[in-house]
């Protein structure tokens, strides 16, 4: 026979209350879980919608991430992009090999680049025209284009053809038109027909250029650029240096489209010259 005593009335009431509270809490917890699960489903749905919208926008966004010069977004009829703009920018300015501008200019500007480098494209299409207009045309600055051709096979192919354009003193036209038509890096887009269309727009004779580009001599400017780049500790492109003609070079610390920083650097050297 059990010796347990009967629970008192109060104890029974307390136990019932505890059970009721427990049940209520279990219900509340279950309700919270259900609510959270519904919330999670809604959040998942919303996140999926956001991602799908982002993917659609991303797929259709401008593949032309570098902005073209003002007013030159579209191809002009019959010409390849950049032909007209390059010719206008460079008209009447002396070119010799890798140099642009008067040999007696007091300031030297050296640009290290790669024809496939997208930031070089931004520099060339957005910053260069203003520097040419303000400093090269007036005989204050002489520029030189140093092609490191380090980004891959297409860079070397393009670099050799650029060297051939330099032989014809058309390097700057070639480079400018090339950047206007720059393709997807190392996708194999630098084909002979692509190069010939650049040649044509830049005023380069393709037959002569092809012969030079096939020769070992076309690698010389690239080797020289890399040697100079190593000496100046160039680690990325575009890297631009300015200095007095025949004097030491100093690197311009600026983003590719920061025109005012380049102008300030040039003005600084002009002030000393």
């Amino acid at each position: 026979m059990s010796t347990e005593r009967e629970p008192t009335k109060k104890e029974r009431r307390d136990a019932a209350r505890a059970a009721r509270i427990e049940a209520e809490q279990a219900d509340a917890a279950a309700a919270l879980r259900r609510r959270r699960l519904r919330t999670l489903l809604a959040v998942l749905g919303a996140a999926a919608v956001l991602v799908v919208v982002a993917i659609i926008v991303s797929g259709s966004s401008d593949s032309n991430s570098a902005k073209s010069r003002p007013g030159v977004a579209q191809k002009s009829a019959g010409a390849i992009p950049g032909q007209k703009e390059s010719a206008e920018m460079l008209a009447g300015i002396p070119q010799s090999g890798i140099h642009l501008g008067s040999p007696s200019a007091p300031v030297r500007l050296v640009e290290f680049a790669d024809l496939q480098c997208p930031f070089c494209r931004e520099y060339t299409l957005q910053t260069l025209p203003q520097l040419v207009q303000d400093y090269v045309r007036s005989g204050k600055v002489r520029m030189e284009f140093r092609d490191l051709a380090f980004l891959g096979k297409d860079s070397v192919t393009a670099g050799r053809q650029a060297a051939a354009a330099a032989e014809q003193n058309k390097l700057w036209n070639f480079v400018d038109v090339f950047y206007f038509n720059q393709g997807e890096e190392n996708s194999g887009y630098v084909t002979p027909s692509f190069l010939h269309s650049i040649d044509k727009a830049a005023g380069v004779d393709s037959a002569t250029a092809d012969a030079f580009a096939a020769s070992a001599a076309s690698l010389t400017p690239i080797k020289q650029a890399n040697a100079l780049g190593d000496q100046l500790k160039v680690s990325s492109t575009p890297t631009v240096f300015v200095g007095k003609r025949g004097g030491a070079l100093q690197q311009v610390e600026a983003g590719p489209t920061d025109v005012s920083a380049y102008k300030q650097a040039i003005d600084g050297v002009l002030g000393q010259a």
């Binding site: 959270r36 919330t39 999670l40 959040v43 956001l50 993917i55 401008d62 991430s65």
Partner: protein, 148 residues
């Protein structure tokens, strides 16, 4: 320490690290400098590809905003903050997965920084989802659980 507090702490650390990665990628995007890119990656190629921007906004900047929103949500003790945190982390995870797919199959180059961010975002999605499901009701977080 309750499970939720542990999860919250993990999420704070993850979001802070993600914020730093995104800040670095945003900085180099605007400065136009080449990222430090180890492990045979090609960050420049990835960062200059057509998928590096969304409607003109660099994805690095979107990531920065996303991490900042997630981090902020972790300091607010409200039901809505759990939802916002999970929403941003899950959307971030989905978009990171898409970008990683583009890196592998369209750009043909991998940017270790971007992979790091995608990994962090994946972990954040898991942690914030777990919190959304498991956290006690708002206002009770961190309190001693009622044991009857």
């Amino acid at each position: 320490m309750t499970t939720d507090r542990r999860l919250r702490l993990v999420a704070i650390v993850l979001a802070a690290v993600g914020l730093c990665v995104a800040a670095y990628l945003t900085y180099i995007h605007y400065e136009g400098i080449k990222p430090v890119c180890g492990l045979g990656g090609d960050c420049e190629k990835v960062q200059s590809s057509e998928w590096s921007k969304l409607a003109g906004v660099p994805v690095a900047l979107l990531g920065l905003a996303g991490y900042a929103a997630i981090l902020a949500s972790l300091f607010v003790d409200r039901e809505e903050a759990l939802i916002v945190g999970a929403l941003f982390a899950l959307a971030g995870f989905g978009f990171s997965a898409y970008l990683t797919y583009r890196e592998l199959f369209s750009i043909d180059a991998i940017c270790p920084w971007c992979v790091a961010s995608a990994t962090i975002m994946t972990l954040l999605a898991i942690v914030t989802t777990a919190r959304l499901l498991l956290a006690p009701a708002a206002g009770r977080r961190g309190a001693v659980p009622y044991v009857g």
